[in-house]
């Protein structure tokens, strides 16, 4: 039987499949549909230091093969998370990746200090430098090399836990921000967060989303994610976690071939809870029919023309 285990630096995941931040809350709901014990890990909804109510009004719009969201980081704050959610999450028996977002560099450092403490049972800190739906912080940092470098470097001083850096695709050169993350000590980069988009209601002549813009996710963005991963795979020395529109085992294989050590499933797991089980089964079938012993052998095997 194929070995689904993958490594992301020091972190060993039971499977390359992770649930993406913001699309599985803190796992409670998806746990009713999916055996989380067999997946690689679960990324929490983006946490901030203080609780956030998120954006008001309409938060989603449907688009061709995708959706826009502008949740705006609604979350209970890091302290309530530790108290009310983490113990339950630990019971899933899978890796817990905590997605953190800040207004300013200090926010990131303080959260890294809290979550990075060895006594706090979280496995990985995922720095969200890419949320397009809040006015301050986040994507602003992720859009420049300096922003990424500064935050990752700072965070590294507060924790020895693996730090993954989730980057925004809304940049001219993804390799530059990815390299900045690597140089600052990131354990891995996560590619990609959502692309900034808009939907318009022609009746009211208003943006459908009350935040005016939102993040585009789903299969529509898959070709962009694949390209960015393949680009980064040529220059990075740290692992890449792929994300963006993954809907099938075939997609997972494409992302791994492009350079991903593991992948995150977001929108399609939202729309089809239980999808990880199906993808896992299909990955096993594929590996058996292709006589692949370790799925991780696929990573970065792209043959360029």
């Amino acid at each position: 039987m194929v070995d689904l285990t993958v490594r992301v630096g020091p972190t060993v995941l039971k499977s390359p499949l992770l649930l993406a931040s913001g699309t599985c809350g803190f796992g409670r709901e998806v746990a009713e549909y999916e055996d989380l014990f067999v997946i690689g890990g679960i990324c929490t909804k983006g946490l901030t230091l203080m609780p956030r109510l998120g954006n008001e009004g309409c938060r989603t719009a449907e688009t061709p093969s995708g959706m826009l969201n502008s949740v705006g980081l609604q979350n209970p704050g890091v302290h309530a998370f530790l108290r009310d959610e983490l113990p339950n999450m630990r019971s899933f028996g899978t890796k817990i990746i905590v997605n953190v977002a800040g207004h300013d560099t200090d926010d990131y450092f303080r959260m890294a200090q809290i979550l990075g403490d060895p006594s706090v049972p979280v496995d990985v800190i995922e720095l969200n430098l890419s949320c397009p739906n809040v006015k301050e912080g986040c994507m602003t940092f992720g859009a420049s090399e300096e922003g990424v470098y500064q935050i990752v470097k700072g965070v590294r001083e507060y924790t020895d836990k693996p730090v993954w850096v989730k980057l925004t695709p809304n940049v001219t050169s993804i390799t530059e921000t990815a390299l900045a993350a690597e140089n600052a000590g990131a354990g891995a980069v996560v590619l990609i967060n959502t692309l900034l988009g808009m939907a318009i209601d022609i009746k009211s002549r208003r943006p459908v989303l009350q935040n005016n813009t939102g993040g585009l996710s789903g299969p529509a963005i898959k070709p962009i994610a694949l390209r960015m991963i393949a680009e980064c795979d040529q220059v990075l020395h740290i692992p890449i976690i792929g994300c963006g529109g993954i809907a099938s085992a075939k997609d997972v294989i494409e992302f791994m071939i492009a350079g991903a050590s593991a992948v995150q499933i977001g929108t399609m797991s939202l729309l089809h809870p239980g999808i990880c089980e199906k993808i896992t089964n299909d990955l096993i079938c594929y590996a058996e029919s292709e006589s692949i012993e370790r799925l991780s052998d696929l990573t970065g095997t792209l043959l360029r023309w």
Partner: protein, 260 residues
């Protein structure tokens, strides 16, 4: 473990000009659904569409929904032929609460009447007296009248045009209620937001407990993505309000909680 079902459409009956009643086979949903809960149904578009459960037949293992043609998604669903397979999640959310209910007044408008039909049926099963008040634009828009008469003790209709029942909207029907009819009654209302808001206001004035079923754009329908939140009153001090999930904590809320 819960799952996304892939189930066939058994029948699709047009009721009124732009509304269809669709019946699906699903033992599980038929057995589990409660009035006010909804199902999230696929179409040929990207996101599923939420619809309140209209009826269930646990013995036959079927359930039905009423669908008004609005845009492309409901268009696809209304045009589907029996035998077509759909991906369906459900039953989802929290429905109406019937505990300690002595008398029910169900107030519906638009597509809101569908979940109320199920609530009235349940009330009948529970032996709770019920009164159904439905508002329509005009006589020719009235649908499912006999179906409501089957399950409600009394059915009253208002039409904006005044060509059937009371002229005006459902609040006019409410204001015609006798003391007797109002006594100990619990209100359940589903319909356009403005209607529910007015019903809630009326209920507040009348000192009656009122449950409303809110509608928000949804993605997952299971509480995982937070795109469907409703604004409700704060619990803790200092909080201006709370954002709760329409699909998980709702869609039915106590009207007194809702910030319109």
């Amino acid at each position: 473990m819960k799952k996304e079902y892939r189930i066939p459409l058994l029948s699709n009956v047009a009721v009124g000009s732009a509304t269809h009643v669709l019946t699906f086979r699903s033992k599980e949903i038929a057995a589990a659904a409660n009035p006010g809960q909804f199902v999230n149904v696929s179409s040929d578009l990207f996101l599923k569409r939420p619809f309140g459960v209209l009826d269930t037949d646990p013995e036959a293992g079927t359930f039905s929904i009423g669908v008004r043609r609005i845009g492309a998604g409901t268009g696809y669903i209304c045009d589907a032929v029996p035998g077509t397979f759909f991906e369906v999640l459900g039953p989802l959310g929290n429905g109406f609460v019937f505990d300690q209910t002595k008398r029910i007044i169900a107030i519906g408008g638009g597509t809101g009447i569908f979940p109320l039909r199920f609530a009235l049926k349940r009330a009948r099963e529970l032996g709770i007296p019920s009164l159904s008040l439905n508002g329509f634009r005009s006589k020719s828009d009235i649908i499912l009248l006999s179906s409501f008469e089957e399950v409600a003790d009394q059915v009253r209709i208002s039409t904006d045009a005044g060509d059937f029942g009371t002229k005006g909207n459902v609040v006019n029907l409410l204001s015609e209620l006798t003391k007797e009819e109002m006594k100990d009654a619990i209100l359940m209302t589903v319909g356009p937001e403005i209607m529910m808001k007015n019903v809630a206001k009326w209920a507040d004035g009348a000192g009656l407990f009122c449950q409303v079923s809110l509608e928000k754009r949804m993605a997952c329908g299971i509480g995982a993505c937070l795109v469907c939140v409703c604004k409700v009153k704060a619990e803790a001090e200092g909080e201006p309000f709370r954002h709760v999930r329409c699909c998980k904590e709702g869609p039915v809320f106590a009207a007194s909680e809702v910030i319109w």
